[in-house]
């Protein structure tokens, strides 16, 4: 797995929102964090990451600020808006319900 199309758009949104709910991050860090936390399973390609980030920003779920990064260069840091936080909870709940349902079906002996 790793091809951009394998991650459905909605799922990528959830991952991004969750990742930056802890602290503001730039795009590179978000991708790295997702990769890390998922145990190298989920690798987000740039081709889907930045369109997703920009879409979320245009929809005002997340907001961006340019600040100095850990390397000393300027980078664009994304953080959740309050509306984004509410959206995150909603999507998490949805995902739990969905995955539980799938699990039930799949684990039917």
């Amino acid at each position: 797995m790793g091809k951009p199309n394998d991650l459905v758009q909605g799922t990528l949104d959830l991952l991004i929102l969750k990742t930056i709910s802890l602290e503001p991050m730039h795009g590179w860090a978000i991708a790295k964090r997702i990769q890390q936390v998922s145990g190298e399973v989920l690798q987000v390609q740039q081709g889907s990451l930045y369109p997703a980030l920009h879409r979320l920003e245009q929809q005002a779920w997340i907001k961006a600020k340019w600040a100095e990064s850990e390397t000393g260069r300027q980078a664009k840091f994304y953080s959740l808006t309050s509306a984004g936080r509410a959206q995150l909870e909603k999507e998490s709940a949805n995902w739990s319900r969905l995955s539980a349902a799938i699990n039930l079906v799949v684990s039917e002996a």
Binding site: Q46, Y50, H54, A60, R73
Partner: protein
């Protein structure tokens, strides 16, 4: 809460877009740098790290576009970018752009102009209240006269007994002279005698003053008149005090009751005065049931259908017919048509034909522009291949093509709208006799139509040229050198197909124009039965108040006038008649032949009636076949001679000599008692209307004093138009208040009668010529393109020994093949289309072989000429040059 953020985001994206674009670049660059750093950290060399990072990163331009695609206002940004790009590419080739815009402007302009005319004249409802309830009513004799005008007596019966109409009104076209006043010359004007309820029937109120009342519409009432708006402005200085003032019409005093609104034009476009009909006509005439003089307009009651109205009136007509079996000219039935249909029925077919012609012209223009676009696309195929390889989608290219054609169409459409406006202004000014011409305006619907047409043209031209986008052959396109253009075969076929269709449409237009031209030529060339060269005519009407009929006053006036006119230097002959050939039907009356057995009751013979002075036939050039003209010394009651036309002699005196026999007028209540006339001469037939067959005519002597109007005819061997002023001065000298109307040469008078035909013919010929030019230009372009593509191949052929003439011949045949195909298609289509035009043709068969042959020859010659230049250039190619150049 989120709304606020959304709006802030949208605003920022609208106004700080370039900023955001730069930031996006920075963001992506940052990511790339981090990836490279990570690669280096895992042990790669800086170069390897960079390559690996870039490979993983993908196409930066594509990435940027994908991110930007998520931004707000992305759609709008794309459209604006396409427009800017389209304008830039068009500006680089200004010649192409200008030609394309002009071609579009012509096509769209013609279409819009004609659509406006059709919409205003044929489709728009009449400007009256509830116009779909207004009907035109006719008397009807099913076999001979299904739509006859109405008699006063029948109208009175209809009015009294009908149940279906809320009101019925009478209209009679007329002409009146307004007296000289305040330094202005006397003037003869189109007018109408109407029943007092005409305006209420139509649902119109005067703009100033008041409408007629029933009291005005009586013989004994004081004369009242309603004035037209432009007459009021022009002759009475738009003076609001005109109401209740007295003006003199036909030497009689009339009180001005009111002024009509500016837009009102009924019954004719140039009617300027309305007077009450019962006041103007003697009571006996208004009571007659067999003297058909009037048109009747009716408003149906709500819920009543036209059929019911017709049935209702037919019953009344039948009753009157049965009660008057002794009269020959009573019609037993009634007929009905919507008022709009009555007014525009005759012009519908020609207008639709012209509209179809402009449609063809527009199609040809679009195809020409499509052809031009295809040529451009071909010359840019390398550029487009590269762009496709870099990730620009096929949709993107299609959008650009459409944008280009949209820009061209929009510019052409705007220019076309201006052209249409100008053309319509000219039309309204030059054809103010045309039905409903006053209602021709460019309004909102026309503008919407224009926009629609522009969009359609853009789509058509753009999509056709977009058919040439094939990104499958990408690699070949990139690799091929421009001299070996095998991939462009498909495009050449496309252009040839376009051309074939263009030529086909052009042939259809040419055939239509050719048929109309031939028909018009036949029409104008018809022998009207009299002299037409060097003949001047003018109409005179003596006011009844001062020249009572019957009586000696008009006879004396005409005698003196003719004597003085004949004495003028340059006048060879002069004569006077109530109406000359080509002036229309005017009057017909029933009669019987004394020497023949009596006809059964209720039947009578019928012929046109004219009054003429003894010198008329010689002056008019109507040949005197037998007998003599009127005896000059017989006046008033003693003038009981009649001259008949040849057709009358053949129809009613077959196989016998009519001279010396007698006719008795009567059979209608008009001449109760009937006078007896002696036939003294037979003259040649004449046509009362150009384009109509001659009808039996009888001429009475003007010297019987019953008529006080007529058309003066002057013949001269010199330029007859120079005599107009001297003759008018003679008449003015005899009576200062006598206006003279319609001073026209015979040719001009006949031209008036063929005005519609000449107008339609001129327009259609113009369209056909335009389309021929466009098709020729198209042919020229396509063949030049083909020749340019095959320069290399031609060079080889020439180097291998082919003769230049062979190359020329081959190129010519290549170019003429689509032309021939188009010609065949076009001829087949014309055969069908010309059948639809049958009504518009005069003595011309729709499948006239001469026309078809001429059209084919014209097209082939023009096509050959158009192909000649590129073919010639192709044969002049220097083989060494051709082989060396790319």
């Amino acid at each position: 809460m989120r709304w606020f953020g959304l709006i802030a985001m949208k605003t920022r994206m609208l106004f700080r877009r370039s900023d955001a674009g730069e930031r996006l670049d920075d963001e992506l660059r940052f990511h790339l740098e981090r990836q490279i750093a990570e690669n280096v950290a895992t042990g790669m060399s800086p170069d390897q790290a960079r390559y690996a990072a870039l490979r993983a990163f993908g196409n930066p331009a594509l990435l940027r576009d994908q991110a930007r695609a998520k931004w707000n206002w992305h759609g709008a940004e794309q459209v604006i970018r396409d427009v800017r790009y389209g304008m830039r590419t068009l500006r680089r080739t200004p010649g192409f752009a200008i030609i394309a815009v002009l071609v579009m402007a012509l096509g769209i302009g013609a279409n819009v102009a004609l659509f406006t005319v059709v919409r205003s004249v044929v489709l728009k409802p009449l400007p009256f209240k509830d116009p779909d309830r207004l009907m035109m009513l006719y008397e009807s004799s099913p076999k001979d006269y299904p739509y006859n005008i109405v008699s006063g007596g029948m109208y009175a019966e209809w009015n009294k007994y009908n149940e279906s109409f809320s009101s019925l009104a009478l209209v009679q076209d007329s002409e009146n002279a307004v007296a000289a006043a305040g330094g202005q010359l006397p003037e003869k004007l189109s007018s109408a005698k109407v029943s007092w309820n005409l305006l209420t029937t139509l649902g119109v109120a005067p703009a100033l003053g008041r409408d007629f009342t029933a009291d005005d519409d009586m013989l004994a009432a004081n004369g009242t008149v309603l004035l037209g708006w432009s007459l009021w402005k022009r002759r009475f200085g738009a003076d609001r005090g005109i109401v209740n003032r007295t003006i003199y019409i036909d030497a009689k005093p009339y009180t001005v009751a009111g002024v009509m609104p500016e837009w009102f034009a009924y019954p004719r476009p140039d009617t300027q005065m309305w007077t009450p009909v019962y006041h103007e006509n003697p009571a006996e005439i208004m009571a007659m049931v067999d003297n058909h003089m009037f048109r009747v307009v009716g408003r149906l009651k709500p819920g009543v259908s036209a059929e019911q109205g017709k049935a209702d009136l037919s019953v009344i007509s039948r009753r009157v017919f049965d009660a008057h079996r002794d009269l020959a000219f009573v019609n037993p039935g009634a007929n009905i048509r919507p008022l709009l249909e009555h007014m525009v029925g005759p012009v519908k077919r020609p207008l639709y034909v012209l509209l179809a012609a402009t449609g063809c012209l527009l199609l040809i223009a679009c195809m020409n522009v499509a052809n031009l676009l295809v040529a451009r696309a071909v010359s840019r195929r390398k550029e487009q291949a590269i762009r496709t390889a870099m990730g620009g989608g096929r949709l993107r290219l299609l959008r650009e093509r459409l944008m280009e054609s949209l820009l061209l169409s929009a510019a052409g459409g705007a220019l076309g709208l201006v052209l249409a406006y100008g053309a319509l202004e000219w039309l309204v000014r030059s054809r103010h006799d045309m039905t409903r011409v006053e209602s021709i305006h460019i309004d909102a619907i026309v503008v919407v139509f224009t926009v629609g047409v522009i969009a359609l043209c853009a789509l058509f031209a753009g999509l056709v040229s977009a058919l040439t986008i094939r990104d499958k052959a990408l690699l070949t396109t990139l690799q091929e050198s421009s001299r070996y253009a095998s991939g462009s075969q498909a495009r050449a076929t496309l252009r040839r197909v376009l051309l074939t269709v263009e030529v086909g449409l052009t042939v259809v237009l040419l055939t239509g124009a050719g048929l109309l031209l031939k028909s018009y030529e036949r029409l104008r060339g018809t022998d009207v039965g009299c002299a037409t060269e060097n003949v001047l005519t003018m109409r005179i009407g003596l006011p009844g108040a001062r020249y009572k009929t019957p009586g000696p006053a008009p006879v004396n006036f005409f005698d003196t006038m003719l004597a003085r006119v004949r004495a003028l230097p340059g006048v060879d002959q002069a004569g006077l008649a109530t109406a000359v050939p080509g002036q229309g039907w005017w009057e017909d009356d029933g009669f019987s032949v004394v020497e023949h057995p009596a006809l059964p009751q209720g039947q009578a013979l019928d012929a046109l009636t004219r009054w003429a002075d003894p010198g008329y036939f010689a002056a008019m050039g109507i040949p005197l076949l037998r007998g003599r003209t009127f005896n000059d010394s017989l006046r008033l009651e003693q003038a009981r001679e009649v001259i008949i036309s040849e057709k009358l002699a053949k129809s009613f005196f077959p196989g016998e000599d009519p001279l010396g026999k007698h006719i008795k007028t009567g059979g209608d209540s008009w001449s109760a008692g009937g006078k007896i006339y002696t036939i003294v001469g037979v003259v040649g037939d004449m046509r009362y209307d150009i384009g109509e067959a001659p009808k039996e005519t009888k001429y009475f002597s003007l010297q019987d004093g019953t008529e006080n109007y007529g058309t003066l005819v002057i013949r001269s061997s010199r330029d007859v138009e120079t005599l107009a002023l001297p003759v008018q001065r003679v008449i003015q000298g005899m009576d200062r208040d006598l206006p003279v109307a319609d001073v026209l040469t015979m040719n001009q008078l006949l031209g008036k009668g063929t005005l519609d035909a000449s107008f339609n013919t001129t327009l259609l010929t113009g369209f056909a010529a335009l389309s021929l030019i466009l098709a020729a230009v198209g042919l020229f372009g396509v063949l030049s393109y083909i020749a340019a593509q095959r320069t290399w191949e031609i060079g080889i052929r020439l180097a291998l020994g082919a003769r230049r003439e062979q190359v020329l011949g081959k190129m010519l045949s290549d170019g003429l093949r689509p032309a021939l195909a188009g010609l065949t298609l076009g001829l087949a289509a014309s055969a069908e289309v010309s059948r639809l035009m049958r009504d518009m043709l005069y003595e011309t068969r729709p499948l006239d072989p001469m026309v078809f042959v001429t059209v084919s020859a014209t097209l082939l010659i023009v096509a050959a000429l158009a192909c000649l230049v590129p073919a010639w250039r192709a044969s002049r190619v220097d083989p060494m040059q051709a082989l060396r150049t790319e």
